[in-house]
Symmetry: C2
Subunit: 328 residues, 2 copies
DNA sequence: CTGAAAGCGCTAACAC
DNA sequence: GTGTTAGCGCTTTCAG
């Protein structure tokens, strides 16, 4: 691997390494002719600075770490795409690591980040992660950590989240305004905080705003479960189904198609979503948007704030918006 | 950022840097007691080796670059997840870069890869990329380049692809065996090689195997187009629709739902897919699988072969399989 | 305007 | 068994 280095260029040109270095970064000290000679040779030799050497010397890696349970997920995907874009635009690279919701892989990923001397970390912790000390240690070393989506319940952490409870409330309100009377709600893993928050908010809103409405709640950890649970739920003839997530929506829709029911004639459907899944169907499903893209933007600017010296602990939540389809 | 270094440990322990370095990598020369002392202190000081220093010294980065048009795509997503997994398992990290199908961003990403002295590159070029010299330059520097999915038409390149033409042939055969007589085929961007190959194979197979079958071809570069084109196509009352990709399938299905048609009663549907989209519907759509996951595995082992010293140019294609849903 | 020299953190001969 | 040394490629004082 015969890489061009400053030294090589300097030898060919009979100049010192520092002159080459300066010329290449357009330092005012260097004469125009020298600059031109240097730049020319560098170009023909296809010089690319060695990032490792620069990082080592300057201890500024221009590298962010991003740890996420899985990149194969609409929401996280949108988040990553958004962060990647902003990072690239600002000269940062991204090291994307999947944890598979396994705390031990998570720790390993963290190690990798530290070894690469990342400038900052974006992390969505796995549900089983209880010990956040390793993450806090980064903070002590002045490496900002932005927790996103699934965040630890700890005041010392910077967090950016979607509106958990509020999204459910908004969906509930929409159902009520559409005069739904027998509402089924399908939720995800009951052990997750997000499920509990959404369920509580949903139930509360329905009961408070419409004492008359009947509510049927069930849980479905996966799309397949959602489909079979929906088959059961449909026997009760609800006039609307609320889905807590995209995964659930897809199961619900399969069940509805299987039963040959028509939306919104036979029943209404509303979901909380990043926005892609509801648009798969006709009519498009009405949803409360929790945007991975927006969350990414927010996480990035939160990161920049930290890097800019802000020591203020940020705990941000993006607002949700209702996107009307034709499903209610 | 007060990072622990070998030097620091050596000073505390009154040993030399090299002893620490050796102790930490369990070098046989070092006595057991020394090793223990070193490892203990390293642990309490939370030592993490500086990857930049190591890479600089050893010029072996254990880092792969991966350039892809977009990570928000079922197929590429599966590919990335698969490569990431294999890489991580083998101690490699992945630098994932999106090009947005923009050749200038692509070149920039390539620069980044070179600056970070990647060990190897996985790349899916944008359709507009005509000059592959920059990629070949990497090869000259002994950095393996594995082109995947959208690959240049150049014999010097290592390639891993899905079966373009064959998948279309398989779908066509399936339609014929189901006695479809009036078949609509919806294809993507007509300028892309993959579209041309699939169209040609599809048309050829239908004509050869079933002279009687009527074929209606149209193009739809996006999901929205696919939906509106399908609305038109449906007026001709085809008894089956072939979709060239997931994006098209989704548009087709929306149109079918909009028209209130029922599958497979009113018409059959078959698609080429990575596997996720066809499972969104009931009945699940029959598809010819072109698996991003499998392609990732293949790309990774191709990379390993190159790294292992193989100079043989590989041009690999994964076989497709037919996955039967209930849509025909 | 240009050069010399130190040093970022680490590895790997080569000594002893 | 352990220490010394040189050097990976670069930036950045400090001299001249």
């Amino acid at each position: 691997m015969n890489n061009t280095t400053l030294k090589k260029i300097s030898e060919i040109l009979g100049l010192s390494i520092s002159t080459i270095s300066r010329a290449l970064k357009d330092h005012p000290d260097i004469s125009a002719k020298t600059k031109q000679r240097v730049v020319e040779l560098a170009t023909t030799l296809d010089y690319e600075p060695n990032a490792n050497a620069i990082n080592l010397r300057t201890s500024n890696s221009k590298l962010f770490g991003l740890i996420v349970p899985s990149i194969s997920n609409w929401f996280y995907n949108a988040f990553i795409a958004s962060v990647e874009e902003d990072s690239r635009r600002n000269g940062y690279s991204l090291m994307i690591l999947q944890s598979g919701d396994d705390p031990s892989i998570e720790i390993n990923n963290l190690k990798l980040c530290r070894q690469n001397r990342i400038t900052g970390l974006f992390v969505c912790i796995s549900p089983e992660t209880t010990n956040i000390e390793p993450f806090l240690k980064l903070k002590e070393m002045d490496i900002p950590v932005i927790f996103f989506d699934k965040v630890p319940d700890d005041a010392r952490c910077n967090k950016v989240c979607v509106a958990d409870a509020l999204s459910a409330t908004m969906a509930a309100n929409e159902l009520i305004s559409k005069k739904k009377k027998k509402i089924a709600g399908l939720f995800g893993n009951p052990h997750l905080l997000i499920t509990q928050k959404r369920l509580e908010a949903f139930r509360k809103t329905i009961h408070e705003k419409s004492g008359a409405a009947q509510l049927i709640i069930d849980y479905a950890p996966s799309t397949e479960d959602a489909e079979s649970k929906t088959i059961e739920l449909l026997k009760e003839k609800p006039d609307a189904i609320f889905c807590m997530s995209d995964e659930i929506l897809i199961g619900v829709m399969k069940a509805i198609q299987r039963k040959g029911l028509s939306i919104p004639k036979d029943l209404g459907v509303i979901t909380i979503s990043n926005g892609a899944a509801p648009k798969l169907y006709f009519p498009e499903i009405t949803y409360v948007e929790t945007s991975g893209h927006k969350l990414g933007k927010m996480a990035y600017s939160s990161m920049m704030a930290c890097l800019g010296g802000s020591t203020f602990i940020q705990d941000l939540t993006i607002e949700s918006i209702l996107v009307e389809g034709g499903s209610l």
